[in-house]
């Protein structure tokens, strides 16, 4: 029996919409799931917060706790001035969290296991940091590459290293989320394949298949945790990078 653990990440085009040059732009399953994610987040948060009860119900307090959590993270990393980026960070956090949670539903599609999606998000953060830093501070923003208290004769070297280090941010920022999601979903698929393969050997195989089945349950629990942790990690790294745009030279 042959089971391809990569097959779940395949992009399937539903309907070709238009073509730009020779490139065809189609509505694919990734786009469909992103629409589902946005719809789910919107329905949940708009629906839950319209009542605006003074004593929140169960769902409303869920929404309020999420708000408090992200707001506290952002405020602790960037200070009060960073709160103007709150809508951006909150949107990123909820989008990634819901993408990861919806991706864990069996037979669904994990959007964040596509490098192009995570790289787009990381590059968006990167260019917002550069753009806002230059717009707010002008050329003084480049102080972010000049650490304090470095002797003048090694400074050019250090500045070059700092620049390269700054350029690596979108890479590690995107690859971390992508890699975690990809690895988790492949692990689940591999254990599932073990269950089928070992279970194919008759009665004795059924008993043998219990072990990988338990592993699926444990891995699934771990993946639930990883889904939330990675959304949080992406959000907190965004906050840390935004702090560079808001307070350069720290």
């Amino acid at each position: 029996m042959h089971i391809d653990p990569i097959e779940q990440f395949q992009i399937k085009n539903f309907l070709p919409m238009m073509s730009v040059g020779s490139h065809q732009i189609a509505f694919n399953n990734a786009a469909l799931y992103m629409l589902i994610i946005v719809a789910a987040v919107s329905v949940l948060f708009i629906g839950v917060t319209t009542s605006r009860a003074l004593v929140p119900g169960r769902m409303q307090s869920l929404a309020e706790m999420t708000y408090e959590f992200v707001a506290h993270t952002l405020r602790s990393q960037t200070g009060a001035e960073g709160m103007k980026f709150f809508p951006f960070v909150f949107t990123l956090f909820m989008f990634i969290l819901f993408a990861n949670l919806i991706g864990l539903i069996p037979y669904s599609f994990e959007v964040m296991a596509q490098l192009v999606v995570t790289a787009s998000l990381a590059l968006l953060v990167f260019f917002i940091v550069v753009g806002y830093g230059l717009w707010k501070h002008g050329l003084r923003w480049f102080k972010v590459f000049v650490p304090k208290g470095v002797p003048i004769f090694v400074l050019p070297m250090i500045v070059l290293i700092e620049v390269v280090s700054f350029l690596t941010r979108p890479v590690s920022h995107s690859v971390r989320l992508f890699g975690n999601m990809l690895a988790g979903h492949i692990a689940l698929q591999v254990f599932a394949a073990f269950v089928l393969m070992i279970g194919g050997y008759g009665i004795l195989g059924w008993f043998g298949a219990v072990m990988p089945f338990i592993m699926i349950i444990l891995t699934y629990a771990l993946e639930l945790l990883v889904a939330a942790v990675q959304a949080y990690v992406f959000a907190i790294l965004t906050c840390i990078y935004l702090n560079d745009a808001i307070h350069p030279g720290h």
């Binding site: 690596t168 590690s172 942790v229």
Partner: protein, 136 residues
Amino acid sequence: MSDDKREHGERGKAHTDEAALSARLQRLDEELGAARSDEARGRAGRASGAWDQATPASGYARGTRLASEFVAGVVVGAGLGLLIDRALGSSPWGLIVFLLLGFAAGVLNVIRSAGDTPNGEDAGGELRDGGERRDE
């Protein structure tokens, strides 16, 4: 000072109760914000390292994080070197120099990500996750 501001705020805006209330709310929010960010800045160094220690997947998460930081440094350095070589036609030199710089940047990233040293009170404040030096 705060009473002055309050009197002024109430005299200036007290046409309706709502205006006064919103002014007071805003003032409270500002004070709270200042207090919160002061408090948060004090422990920002530890807070950034705390999230992957708090989870059961700690070692795994930490390992992949450090590995990705380092690999990203080397890969970006090599990529930059190749780009510069292609643009300037300086064939091996751009790759050599920027690969080494990327290596250094990767090490720098790793040191900063792993910033919380055992006696983390002083060192944690200086070297923060994600690469910021803080002078406080």
